[in-house]
Subunit: 521 residues, 2 copies
């Protein structure tokens, strides 16, 4: 632990001795402000915007992205970065400076490779696509979404070609969310994940042992679910003075200026309490990560998460390793009982926590258990590769989707709303889904470190305390924003490079215990 | 009426024969898109933004206004406008072109006179000021708002000096909201308004006659008030597919791209039903005006209202001339009774409509009756002149405010929350308040024309029909956006230049009848 203690002393700070860092910060503040407005538009689009505004909002987003593109490709910025890019590894620069220069270079290169016209068109298509997706999902009508999806895929292909790649076009898209990630790296990382997930699912099903999750079903008024979500978020340490909880068709977290304005949404389901709880804790994990950024990083590209994988590691650490553990609920179950006294009067915390871990192949990714979750991701990963690298027609998607669900999970959607239309992602992004599983890997490794750091980990959780957790994470990880790239960050937090072994061990131990399975040597 | 019928044929259209109009439209679309985002920030700030975000949102708004300033002062735009400005009165241009060039010139001149640094500082101060005002109002603590108000006044003075004026600095601020308006013009216009208001108030008080408004008091759950507000707005023709109803501390209407996204807020009061009804119909008037803009004007500075006075004419036409008339409620009272069956079971529509017109000097402007309303405005007008032209200290405001209320209305606030802190306006704008009274003058004149155009006006309203009204207004006024300046627009709609006589006659006739007063020769 000595090494970890040393790392804690990293305090974000820009150098004050180089005027070029000050100049770069001026550029980055302006860009970060405009980026924050794109987030505000997205938030509004998902929580409030009337349908009739889709077209005009698309035009506005396109204009804003056009301005951003102009800023990112400014020749003056290019010259400044040309100089700083050569020197920023010198000892006179702080790690914070280096992170800033690195992300500024990344943004500059990204922007100079994509012409403004393309960026504006993508914004237009995204707005229209969101609208089409929302309607298509309501009516479970994939055909009405297909033309826009097809357009999005074509644009993503063009983006990949322009950004460039060594092996496959999809790699260029993956790199946007997780620097350096490639499909072939994922094939390797996902192989043990796929094996452990399928293996565990088979062992559970073969054992005949079951988990009774009936206490999570019933009648849960939406209003009260929001009250409970808010309680849990407050207990996690999510700061409502710098945030807000809202509802949207797909839960998400949005930051309009980390760490000062980080909001999240849930989508409560009247009959199943688990959806809102999971969403609150998952999005809460994203949100406390963003709220934990050092304030001095605000209005720069290194405020907030280090990568999507790093981000998902926090949402999934909170949602699963913590939020699906019995010690956690020992500390939080009183809140559940207070909000839903009738529903939980005769349910004990052990039953409740076990119920949250029921393994059952399901159709909806965001409702999946930990054993099958990554299989949902693998379906999407394979389809994204097929769309982007192999160029399959979007019209074949519903069929392929259903076939893969049958293959990996043994079940099949009865309509597209619970199948291929369930996620918002394909209205704008390809290459994002794999970061969820990557996040699971990081999360297991960080969880291991956390438990080692606090011998009384379970006792504290059971006492209702989660502040110790948040503080530890905040000092060692959240405060650092994107100063370090994900692999280096994980090494600083855990003392080791990312290793999928932590996840396979975590999953195996946890579900052997829950399902009372005999150990495998 | 022949002249009016001819004017109906004006259909907004840009010329297609001059490439420079196309080029100007490209500039204006970009600017209008960015302006819409400033509105979105405002909306968010008032309906959702967490308090902790005030500072970072101020920085973002400052950046956005900085970009807007850069766009408005672009030398290429200046050259284009230099050419078009000389030629745009030629016959080859349409009225729509002329309106576009005129407003573009206005924006360009405004921006070139105000340095970017000043614009950014104003945005910062506005965000901080809003936050301070919200807290100060909650705690009825003017002193905590005073330093920021003082800063705002100083900035407004600087704006006035830079924009220039012939007579007094305040004129430069008035002109921003109503082109060509001056304090001395207002002194003349407000004189008959002040006389008729004070005279009518004295006649009513001397008569000893009263209106029983007790049916408007009671217990009105907020949720149901929102339901009723929505019903009334739907009936008015407000289109929820292009809008949304929300709540905020001060009711307002915001457009993020007329006519496609126009939202409004109300502030229901549990004990008094009138606040929400008035706000819904008032803001509804603003909103249908914005939603009525010809779609081809979208994303230009001539979409939406012709001026603040023109805008207020519509909010107040709907709120007062229509929304406080018995025929209107004969058509709408069923909705009131349906939402609040217990409260209105034994109230007849005549009693209800009379109650809405009870004259009683009150402290809160937005709850004022039609007789005293303009006296509230005159208080603010005089204080704005004193702040901007005479340079009085902001610290003296609460005392002056209270003294003027005693003088004009015979009552005095017991705290600053119901006094000088009640309005949001002084967090950012001076010169706006007088346009409310100007709107009353225009509204009375338009109402006169409307009644002449529909001999069965009252019968239609009583039958629940307001579409005929909306259509008439939409074709003759709303569709035209800001193609014409307010005086010309009023002339086109009513056949005459603006004349305050319509208002004094309207007020006199209406309240002589309601309070059963003897006519004065």
């Amino acid at each position: 632990m000595t090494m970890l203690e040393q790392d804690v002393t990293v305090v974000p700070d820009f150098t004050h001795s180089d005027a070029r860092i000050k100049e770069l910060l001026d550029y980055m503040h302006e860009i970060a402000d405009l980026e924050a407005l794109t987030e505000l538009i997205d938030w509004d689009q998902n929580t409030a915007m009337p349908k009739g505004a889709a077209q005009v909002r698309g035009a506005q987003m396109a204009t804003l992205k056009g301005v951003l593109h102009e800023r990112w490709t400014s020749p003056q910025l290019g010259n400044l970065l040309g100089e700083l890019g050569k020197e920023f590894k010198q000892a006179s620069f702080t790690d914070t400076d280096r992170g800033l220069v690195r992300e500024a270079l990344r943004g500059y290169e990204h922007a100079t490779k994509l012409p403004r016209k393309l960026v504006e068109e993508m914004a237009h298509v995204q707005a229209a696509s969101f609208d089409a997706w929302r309607s298509a999902r309501e009516q479970s009508d994939f055909a009405s979404f297909a033309p826009l999806l097809s357009r999005t895929v074509a644009l993503q292909r063009e983006v990949a070609d322009r950004l460039g790649y060594d092996e496959t076009p999809y790699d260029a898209l993956l790199d946007k969310y997780e620097p350096g990630l490639t499909a072939s790296k994922l094939d390797i990382l996902f192989d043990p994940v796929c094996k452990v997930s399928q293996g565990m699912l088979q062992r559970i099903q073969a054992s005949g042992n079951t988990v009774d999750a009936s206490c999570l079903e019933g009648n849960f008024p939406l209003e009260q679910q929001l009250v409970l979500s808010e309680r849990l978020l407050r207990n996690m340490g999510y700061d409502f003075l710098r945030g807000q909880l809202a509802q949207s068709p797909h839960p998400f977290t949005s930051s309009f200026g980390s760490p000062f304005d980080v909001r999240l949404t849930v989508r409560p389901n009247k009959r199943f309490i688990q959806a809102a709880l999971k969403a609150a804790i998952h999005e809460g994990g994203h949100a406390v990560y963003e709220q934990g950024s050092a304030p001095m990083l605000a209005r720069t590209p290194i405020a907030g998460g280090a990568s999507m994988g790093a981000h998902e590691s926090q949402s999934r650490l909170w949602e699963n390793a913590i939020g699906r553990s019995e010690p956690y609920w020992q500390g939080q179950f009183a809140a559940v009982r207070e909000v839903f006294p009738d529903q939980f009067a005769h349910v004990d915390v052990n039953t409740f926590a076990r119920a949250l871990n029921k393994v059952q192949p399901s159709l909806i990714r965001i409702e999946a258990d930990e054993v099958t979750y990554n299989l949902h991701i693998i379906v999407r990963f394979e389809l994204e590769k097929a769309l982007i690298n192999a160029g399959i027609a979007v019209e074949s998607l519903p069929g392929l989707w259903n076939a893969k669900y049958r293959e990996y999970l043994g079940i099949e959607p009865s309509n597209d709303a619970e199948g291929v239309l369930q996620d918002i992602h394909w209205t704008s992004s390809f290459g994002y889904f794999p970061t969820y599983t990557l996040g699971n890997l990081y999360a297991a490794q960080i969880f291991h470190t956390l438990r080692a750091a606090f011998p009384d980990f379970d006792e504290r959780l059971a006492g209702g305390d989660t502040r110790f957790l948040l503080e530890w994470l905040q000092q060692r990880m959240y405060a650092l924003g994107a100063i370090y790239q994900p692999e280096e960050l994980i090494k600083r937090v855990t003392g080791e490079m990312p290793d999928p072994e932590y996840f396979t061990r975590y999953l195996t131990n946890k579900f052997e215990m829950i399902y009372n399975l005999p150990k495998i040597a």
